[in-house]
């Protein structure tokens, strides 16, 4: 599914903002996530203490370029991540706007081109824009990570129709909803819509009880995926009686 790696769990977790590394490891275990993202733009090479603690989770690490505002910065951070973590995976974030943390599509494609041709396996944090998605695939990305809503906003799937269209437009590319998920119901919805996985951080990290919330999301993602596989019934405009009306007494 993801560059030759197929996790059993379709939930990915970010590792920022937890009350402590101990709570973080417990939440990772409760979430059953097998892929976790780690930032290093701000932490730099000196973050070994924290990195060793999260490596101990046994999860596959997906370093990210959170906090990068240009293609150049993102490329440098990705190279550093490859050295520090020994992985060619990189979650590519190039932020275009410091307030909304919205991706900069132009710099994103530029950085994706450089990184893919340098042997990286790139997971780009993108919008639901189809042309942008195509350009990223053309650059060499084999996964796309459209946002649900701005990072940390908890708004869920803000452009649901556009995300439906995106899913239909890229039937064979793994699509991961990244960012904006605030509640398990929103994660379940994304999975019902046929997205391959969900990545989230704040909703778990800043919950009153992150470990229990991690478990809640694990259940929601699993339920949503099962529903998708089972085939959801379509919506109808009218109620449909399950017993035939014909032959019943007319009461009016």
């Amino acid at each position: 599914m993801f560059y030759g790696f197929t996790p059993k769990s379709r939930l990915m977790l970010g590792t920022a903002q937890y009350p402590s590394p101990r709570v973080l490891s417990d939440a990772i275990a409760a979430s059953e996530a097998e892929i976790i993202t780690v930032s290093l733009r701000r932490e730099g090479a000196g973050g070994a203490g924290f990195r060793d603690l999260i490596k101990a989770s046994g999860c596959r690490l997906l370093p990210n370029t959170a906090g990068c505002h240009s293609a150049r910065e993102a490329v440098t951070t990705a190279q550093m991540a490859r050295e520090l973590f020994g992985t060619s995976w990189i979650k590519l974030e190039v932020i275009g706007h410091a307030d909304t943390l919205q991706p900069d599509p132009f710099a994103l494609v530029e950085a994706a081109r450089i990184l893919c041709s340098d042997g990286f396996e790139v997971f780009p944090y993108t919008t639901e824009d189809l042309i942008l998605g195509e350009k990223l695939i053309e650059a060499g990305c084999r996964v796309l990570m459209p946002w649900g809503a701005p990072i940390g906003s908890g708004q869920g799937l803000r452009h649901e129709d556009a995300l439906h269209t995106m899913r239909a437009h890229f039937p064979d590319i793994p699509l991961v909803i990244d960012a904006g998920i605030g509640a398990p119901s929103q994660a379940a919805k994304a999975m019902e819509m046929g997205f391959d996985a969900v990545l989230l951080n704040t909703a778990v990290a800043r919950a009153g009880d992150p470990v229990t919330m991690a478990r809640a999301f694990a259940g929601a993602v699993q339920a949503g995926r099962l529903a998708h596989e089972a085939g959801l019934m379509g919506r109808r405009d009218m109620a449909m009686a399950s017993t035939p009306i014909f032959g019943m007494a007319a009461l009016s």
């Binding site: 402590s20 000196g46 203490g49 603690l53 940390g152 704040t202 009153g208």
Partner: protein
């Protein structure tokens, strides 16, 4: 004889608690700058409950009394927590996660903030102090009690309070970088600690007297002790500016960065390893938790001495 090693808040508190029980103590301190030099000096167990477990909140409850009984300058005016209108969900979250607060009108508690913030939380039991002045006072107090403060090799049973320097013996100790500013803004008058909540750049402002304010603090998972970054200065100052535009005219007196020593659960602890007692992992809670740990350790050692005699 107990040899307390460390020149930060933990070593001073442990040496004080031991000597107050009549136990023989020496304090071994070098000239390095302890993490507590950069601390905010908030004695705010209620607010810390937002991210800290209840053990820290309850153990920290006695900190203000402990300090007030020993050093001058403990200001008991509580903590005011405010939030910009568009992030008001943060205040609800903060209120849910903490205890010991009342809803407050920020402008009534701090007239400078009138009209700027509609809602606030007030933690009346909380206090603050100036960490550097408090440490100097505690050190002088030890000297007055005849506790030798020196450099060199320990002569007694070692109580290691070296913070990050003890990492050679505590492999799971890590550094969490904190960056802070001290500004001089004589035209502003804030009388108590004010916390500004923000989903990404929370900050607090602690009055240090004479128009000075400490603005803190970043939390970065790294053990890089280098100088403060431009980003940290920008974030802290823009948060302070959001609190009150008057901070734009403040003079930047100092900018610093230090490493908070932290265990994986971020809870300060007493450990005993290979005959050496460690008091470490103070994380954000040095001034709040060092007194409680020092007293707990002193109780235990006093009991041991009594049993042995």
């Amino acid at each position: 004889m107990f040899s307390v090693i460390g020149n930060g808040v933990t070593g001073l508190c442990v040496a004080s608690a031991l000597t107050e029980r009549g136990l023989p103590v020496e304090l071994l301190a070098d000239s390095s700058t302890p993490a507590s030099h950069w601390a905010g000096g908030m004695l705010a167990p209620g607010c810390e409950g937002e991210s800290a477990p209840s053990d820290v909140v309850s153990a920290g409850a006695g900190a203000a009394d402990w300090w007030a009984a020993r050093v001058p300058g403990v200001v008991r005016r509580g903590t005011l927590v405010v939030v910009p209108p568009r992030d008001s969900a943060e205040l609800d979250r903060f209120a849910r996660m903490t205890r010991g607060h009342d809803a407050a009108d920020p402008g009534i508690l701090e007239p400078e903030l009138a009209g700027r913030f509609a809602r606030g939380l007030y933690f009346p039991e909380e206090a603050h102090l100036d960490p550097r002045a408090a440490m100097t006072a505690l050190r002088d107090r030890l000297t007055a009690k005849g506790v030798p403060i020196r450099r060199g090799e320990p002569r007694g049973r070692v109580i290691d309070c070296r913070g990050m320097a003890a990492r050679d013996m505590l492999p799971d100790l890590r550094g969490v970088r904190g960056e802070m500013l001290i500004v001089e803004a004589p035209e502003l008058e804030l009388t108590r600690t004010v916390r500004l909540l923000h989903p990404r750049f929370p900050c607090y402002v602690v009055p240090r007297g004479q128009g000075r304010y400490m603005i803190g603090a970043t939390m970065v998972e790294t053990d890089d002790p280098g100088p403060i970054t431009a980003r940290a200065i920008m974030e802290l100052l823009s948060a302070a500016y959001a609190l009150h535009p008057g901070f734009a005219e403040a003079r930047l007196v100092e900018a610093g960065a230090g490493l908070r020593p932290a265990f994986p659960d971020n809870i300060p602890a007493i450990r005993e390893e290979r005959g050496r007692i460690h008091v470490n992992g103070m994380y954000r809670h040095g001034f709040l938790m060092a007194p409680a740990l020092a007293e707990a350790l002193a109780d235990r050692l006093q009991m041991e001495m009594r049993d042995a005699s």
